[in-house]
Symmetry: C2
Subunit: 427 residues, 2 copies
């Protein structure tokens, strides 16, 4: 099996070499992929129905959540969205071949930095079949081959989707090995060892899964284990705005990685802000874990004393830690200590406070007067995302097409040699 996966990765690498030299052929394939989902929807929905049938007893027995079941389900409207998404990708400009730096080094000697595909991308994702065409489409548009492993609950759906998309790719004259689907956990282990053939691993799912993958491969990993985000309500915050932002960031979808876990409030606005937000949060069923200064201002609602562990915990649920801080400096210090470099927001009308917050907070997204829930490829206008990266080197944040290409330097001369070359002064 390990040998099989290695061979599959090699064929993906060969396919990636072909894709790297493609331009409009990729768009042709994307339109064919859209048509295939459309034409073969009955077959895909039937496979999905088998997955759903196997899942229903799990939901009844309480072993699968309603939310997970909902994500597992493909519907005609969901398929229509996927078809539209692939057509949009086909119409988007090619992310490959963009010149991001250009310097004439000498007469006839031109240096350019040009975007190019990453190569072979391995994506391990949750039991959510609609992610498959999105990831496959993004990778193909960026000229990458992709090896996928979805959650086992979606296995039949994923096989049907991969069959339809792979046939479309082949029909468009591109190598079908550019899209491969793994079936087992053992195959994922083999993929993690395919250094040299696989260029990037993107794990999506639980923090435990992401950490396991980070610790078991020497291939670069893109993604994030934790999403521990904060909203800081500054001394000069518009408190109505702060109220709306905090409620959205905590309650609109508490399981999301970009929902907040801790609310920081400057002490000068704590009296004015905390009682009201506390009532709204409590009304919405949010458990409030407070430091003493916050608890004191929340007399009317039930609170729980916050422990040190709470500042470092991604609850992923209707639980919010609350801390009163004496200064902007203390808020930034707290965030840089406990945050997961994902997305951090300040609510303030003070430009100087915002400038310091933006410069000094270390995170992929730093927001002013907006909810952390905006950290999402769709809302950023990237069309879709393969994941959200909290790494410090490129790419960072929601990763769409731009994050799926890297660059090579292009140097074109007329026989130039360094023995006779004198660089101009240029820093």
């Amino acid at each position: 099996m390990t040998a099989d996966v290695r061979a599959l990765a090699r064929r993906a690498k060969e396919a990636a070499r072909v894709l790297a030299a493609c331009t409009h052929e990729k768009d042709h394939a994307l339109r064919a992929m859209a048509d295939a989902l459309d034409n073969r929807s009955a077959e895909i929905l039937a496979a999905n129905e088998e997955d759903l049938a196997a899942a229903r007893p799990e939901v009844r027995a309480g072993r699968m959540s309603e939310a997970l079941f909902h994500r597992l389900q493909l519907t005609r409207p969901k398929l229509a969205d996927l078809v539209a998404g692939l057509r949009q990708l086909a119409a988007a400009p090619d992310p490959v071949g963009r010149v991001t730096l250009s310097t004439q080094l000498d007469a006839g000697l031109l240096l350019e930095r040009v975007t190019c595909p990453i190569g072979v991308v391995g994506v391990v994702f949750e039991a959510r079949p609609d992610a498959l065409p999105q990831i496959a489409g993004l990778c193909l548009k960026a000229g990458n081959a992709v090896v996928l492993k979805g959650g086992r609950e979606a296995e039949r759906s994923n096989r049907a989707l991969t069959a339809a998309l792979g046939d479309a790719i082949a029909g468009a004259g591109l190598p079908p090995e550019a899209l491969a689907l793994l079936a087992t956990r053992e195959e994922v282990s083999a993929l993690l060892g395919a250094e040299g053939d696989v260029d990037l691993i993107v794990p999506r799912g639980s923090a435990a899964l992401v950490r396991h993958i980070q610790e078991h491969t020497r291939i670069p990993v893109l993604g994030h284990a934790d999403g521990l985000c904060h909203v800081y309500v500054d001394a000069r915050a518009n408190l109505t705005m702060a109220h709306a932002v905090v409620i959205d960031a905590k309650t609109q979808y508490p399981a999301a990685c970009n929902a907040i876990e801790t609310l920081l409030v400057h002490e000068t606005v704590a009296d004015a802000f905390l009682p009201r937000i506390g009532r709204t949060l409590a009304d919405q069923g949010v458990e409030l874990r407070c430091d003493p200064a916050a608890a004191r201002r929340l007399g009317g609602v039930r609170t729980v004393p916050a422990t040190d562990a709470d500042w470092a915990t991604e609850f992923g649920d209707l639980i919010l830690a609350i801390r009163v801080v004496p200064s902007l400096d203390a808020a930034i210090g707290h965030i840089n200590t406990y945050g997961s470099r994902h997305t951090e927001a300040i609510v303030t009308d003070d430009d100087a406070a915002w400038a310091r917050f933006f410069a000094e907070v270390d995170a992929a997204g730093v927001y002013r007067n907006a909810s952390t829930r905006f950290a999402d490829g769709y809302r950023y206008g990237f069309g879709a995302e393969v994941g959200i990266s909290t790494g410090k080197l490129h790419p960072r944040g929601p990763v769409g097409l731009d994050g799926l290409v890297t660059y090579k330097y292009r140097l074109t001369g007329a026989g130039h040699v360094v023995a006779t070359f004198q660089p101009r002064d240029r820093t």
Copy 2:
């Protein structure tokens, strides 16, 4: 000692937070650093003389090469170059705060991608004291704190340089902890374990050193272990140009990572090209390790049969492997199999061959009609470099200021929440 290094890394992290919010203050510090090297040159050269005195018996005993001794030596002209380099950095535009993407997501909701410092950078470099002010200057200009460890032969020089530069940084009102020098190998081991405080490790030196570091840290590593570069002389090459490029790429500085190890020649030009290049290379003392097809064309000069291992070896010396290939496809296949993703060149007058070579060769630099020796931060116009990266994610190639910054997304709204947000169609 481990605890000491951890504390030093923490202080560097605090210093990095200060630097992240600086703009022109960094340039003020860079000019002060230039002045300090100028004013304290006697002290620095005296320290260097002690290093040289300790090194001379090693050279006489054959334990240190003349080349290494030469790199160890600081001179007044070398110091003057360093002073000029720091002044150039001070005058350069700030790489931090550049907006590389900007989208209006909604009325009053602006998303920008903005360059920012990486944080704390650890650099392990060779016994070459002139690299210290260059690396320190690049890191500071990019808003990063830096922890350095130079080769032990340059210990006294590095201490004198660090003292002068650190005092200048403090005198300019910036935290001197932004520049720290480690003394021992044990301290480097401790630094490699300082995940969370150190954001990037840059190893420079032997492939063995780089591999050791890659295998002993979970901090991202920027650099390259091998420099296995090729020149491919295509069927439609200008052979005079090919001759000049090959001689430069092999002989101008054979120990450099961007010198070539293997020459690939298309069979249709092998008869015309190989006898002449073979004579020139042999005259310059280059040992030629040839496949049978190449050896057959090199009757006049001494050749050695190439083994499979030769294609995978970075000789770093006056040795060149030579192979005749039947096609452009075979040349690209050879390069992608044996190359180290560093720098690869084609000599051709054929635009279609160049287009395929550029698209399909997987390397940080892909050149046409120019010597691979151009892969160098100084020649690329980056002023200096902290290293050359063969990684596939940003940064890639010679790493100057641009490679020392990453980005964060800046989102500014007026209380925007996702609950009421509808993204526009945009891919």
